[in-house]
Point group: C2
Chain length 668, copies 2
Amino acid sequence: MSLQEMCEEREKCSFNTRELTYFLDGGKDKTLELEEMMTSFERDPIFKVPTYDLSWKEQREMSFKRITRMVPFLSLDGEEKFNKRMGLLAIIDGATYTRLGVHFGLFTQTVRALGTPEQFTHWCVDKGGLKCSKFFGCFGMTELTHGSNVAGLQTLATYDEDDGCFLIHTPHLGATKWWIGGAAHSATHCVVYARLIVKGKDYGTKNFVVQLRDVNTHELLPGIAIGDIGKKMGRDGIDNGWIQFTHVRIPRFNMLSKYTSVDDEGNVSKPKFAEQLGYTALVMGRVTMVYDSYTTGKRFITIALRYAAMRRQFGNDGTGKEKKIIDYTHHRRRLFPLLASVFALNASSAEVEAFQKKAQESVLSGDMDKALPNLKDLFALSAGMKAFGTWETCKIIDEGRQSCGGHGYSGYNGFGQGYNDWVVQCTWEGDNNVLSLSCGRALIQNYLALEKGEKLGDYSKYLANYASTFELKTSQLEDIEQIISAWEFISQNLVKKATTSYKNFLKASGNQEDAFEKVSSNRFEIAKIHTKLITLKTFYSRVQKAKAEIKPVLTLLCQLYALSITVENIGQLYSFGVITGSDFTQQVNFKIDEINEKLRPDIVGITDSFNLSDFFIASQIGKKQGGIYEEYFSFVNSQTGKEQIPYYYETVFKPYLHRSLEQNDNED
Amino acid sequence: MSLQEMCEEREKCSFNTRELTYFLDGGKDKTLELEEMMTSFERDPIFKVPTYDLSWKEQREMSFKRITRMVPFLSLDGEEKFNKRMGLLAIIDGATYTRLGVHFGLFTQTVRALGTPEQFTHWCVDKGGLKCSKFFGCFGMTELTHGSNVAGLQTLATYDEDDGCFLIHTPHLGATKWWIGGAAHSATHCVVYARLIVKGKDYGTKNFVVQLRDVNTHELLPGIAIGDIGKKMGRDGIDNGWIQFTHVRIPRFNMLSKYTSVDDEGNVSKPKFAEQLGYTALVMGRVTMVYDSYTTGKRFITIALRYAAMRRQFGNDGTGKEKKIIDYTHHRRRLFPLLASVFALNASSAEVEAFQKKAQESVLSGDMDKALPNLKDLFALSAGMKAFGTWETCKIIDEGRQSCGGHGYSGYNGFGQGYNDWVVQCTWEGDNNVLSLSCGRALIQNYLALEKGEKLGDYSKYLANYASTFELKTSQLEDIEQIISAWEFISQNLVKKATTSYKNFLKASGNQEDAFEKVSSNRFEIAKIHTKLITLKTFYSRVQKAKAEIKPVLTLLCQLYALSITVENIGQLYSFGVITGSDFTQQVNFKIDEINEKLRPDIVGITDSFNLSDFFIASQIGKKQGGIYEEYFSFVNSQTGKEQIPYYYETVFKPYLHRSLEQNDNED
């Protein structure tokens, strides 16, 4: 019966779902490539083993088994395709994705980005890094007392001029490397972030390759102490560990020296734009996380929407059955805007990835004066999109789970593990709050630059078109360009206001840090509004280029996204007089309900367009055929024991329930 | 060093923390009682066993062991004190709390509330229910296809006039009892919700006691099929299961018959207010969850704030050290309003508990005309406070975790398990969204009643004082009474507006359900505003009665709560013209920063007032003495293996990393 109901849902769809898949994937060839890779995961027995019952220690073993299945593809696929494969792995096994990503994404990419070609060849080719042959790398950045403040790390790399070596040393407990993925079990080598000390002078944090273990025996090398940091909220497949160094001597060659280098006499040389040059490569981590926000988001919104299209509760659908929960106004209101967000994340991830490439190329071209405005924009944009993108996906998983009621809490429907694995994305590679405040600071700095007549980058130049008034009418609520204009107006005004406040505080205290600190709430707010505005603009401009047959559904989704961010931040529209009167809010809400009604027939079709097989959905209530009860029930029975009497019955249960009720001497 | 820093933090505190504890606990005697109970948990070896490494199956065993340590206290403590003890258990072990709560809170309380005195005596005394002697009860309400819609449950209880028995039957897969805590391992008996069918007539859902297992062998009785529903997001210590009944015959005596009863000839009798009479007792679950929101909230905000008071990152505190993260404007902004929320939850939980007692007494007094307005209010108030209270605690745990950076993600700092255990509170005992919409519907119904000149209950009667305009000035932002008046004005206007819209839709469609459906977004909004307003009023009125020495700090917290809900919903103030201009928002933000600055010296003192020992805090970075690094490091080392080579090294790791790189025949 559920099969038939799902077929009926599909028949309602107004567009060719395959075309929408091509749009989302960036073309038919990309879709076919992804499908082939998805099949290779599904066929691999190691990826079929269920992990629900594994302890955190067993998960680490399983994760390494899966790593062995991934490694060969790096040479088979080539780098670009392998990254797509990694993106698929991220959807089904966040731990393995990260554990391997630390080696391939962090270790080898750092050696490539910050090391000389000889250094890359040495570790990644000759020593076996790229093939994981007698080699596994880890990334030794964070310490027990330092995470966000990388410049404040405490591990020391002291140059010994006598023998031309560095001494890597952990001077106190707080400098213990902490959270290092791969350190506890796997890593043979580590890129260590440590303060370069030459002739008593501190040159700040640089990068050094340190071997941790004997590659033949896997025993720790002298001076290296390592421990496991144990149980985590999620991603237990990663063997995060801590590392302490006691005067570990490494050759001068082991300092990554593409930009900063030390000669044998201890002279330190550093090019003018060393930070910026290193930065564009390292920002890739954030860019990837916007993409992961999209793919993880589409998995969980699919589960929630398919369940909503099959689950009935209360009411009457007109045929005597209870009403589908997807047909409740409020249920749509909870989920459809998040569906629109997934499309917005798709657009912004493609946009920020392209912009990263553009900025990197302009840096490589060497004309830094020309490259700098876009580099600043890349910093603000990638920070904002990483922060608000990963948060949005938290919301999608959490609201998705709640929207599935009790079944959302089952371990077999994906949300719990999915949430636990996901949320660390808000913390690593730049804490979301710290990134948001940085983004806000960059916007104020942009505005100060603008006031001085300087040129702004591609994504902040709209700040220059300052208008003093703007009015949005309820009749314009379907006009995305008007809504974009309204939010540009708000963003301009908010950034201007924040800059004015900053300047006033600066005048009063004379201290820049203090003045920025005082406008913290402004900084957070402008980062949010700016990021959502750019996301909306990006989404809208991509919709314009879509094929005619999918343009209507994309336009509805884009309208919904525009109105969702509008209603979420509606106070700002009122405060700047863009709208007036309590009816406006009411009309926005009714308009959202109206768009949801129009989107309703297409919902299941849209989830199909996301093109994740049941294997990738990995949820008993989110399957394509919609058998939310039969298959769920039979799956639960396949997972759990058939024994009616618990294994602790004789030892714990029976002795208590069948205890004598005669009083012991201590009882009265 | 950290010890000394924490001492310095405590020295800054402006009030006697002990007095604030008494205020929160409701008096010194209550505090002493709680402390004695906390000590008894801490001394019990079974509660000392760490559970980090247990699989979900092992957690079920541990949970039952802990249950055996709790049961004796029911007779030793008496019911009221035992409930307090259960409240403490909820903080440290949500699974065991619920598993035992299903028996004591749901099974026995339902038999008490809906059964006759003879029925209570039979199962709870004679058969051993109250002592868990050869008896463990469970609560068979939800089914695979029905959760929220209790009236739509499908299990059948068909009366057989020939032998005076009921036949309990699961007619199809969807009617399988699902999520039944205790069913999989422990329960001997179950209160089954089933449709009463007499002579072919369906009388709707009633309650029946059904024995599930032989009390001596623990084997399932004939006609009973049970399975384990397996892995969950959290609370794996509960043995949730599914139950299917195949024509299970039970005596007529087993239908709980305090209100509705069937005589031996099949005549069904039911008093006029059966639902309302049964309801006041069953609403206790929600009331308890507001209290649990408070206690769990205070645990996690304590961890986050103590960590913030010890952790340093970036900047300079003036003494050459990095700045404490608690001294960043934005970090305060993230946590201090949540601290204020914990105080608001303390107030609202006491208020709703008292109101439940009052309503129950007025029902028992028999004058239903007098009792009904407050019963309606109790319904709306407990629904709203359960929903927005449990959500607030989700936010406290989530924001608390994020505010601790990477360390928040460690399994040993409490947030992960805490979140996983907590969030089901948003789903069970009434899904939060369903409850919010019901609360909104009740408010519209109240307004309709008001328009007809009917009397409203204690908490909704403010709706009658309708004003057409209200102005709030920036100079009044510290005046809580003015802010309360502003939100009363908004709530009145929103409820009026929702009612008007409802009436218009009703006029157009003639269908009440349809009209209520159309105003869903209004219903959700008025439920939120009404609940937060009542919470603020309650908080404020309790602060007025506090001792002089703690009144200043409580007033700051209450101001902060008032401004937090104001800024979160500021669009409403603009939309009704209560405030104007973008400066207002800016001023509210600056005022919040200012209050946070005033609260700052008292923060650690406030966490002390919550009076949870390190055992109850159960977080390495949240301990009273503040040794966030040393103790955390040594704890991690005590939990994890010292072996440097992973247990799968020989079987998995070495064979792969040391594989031959000679090509296999399939490779080119």
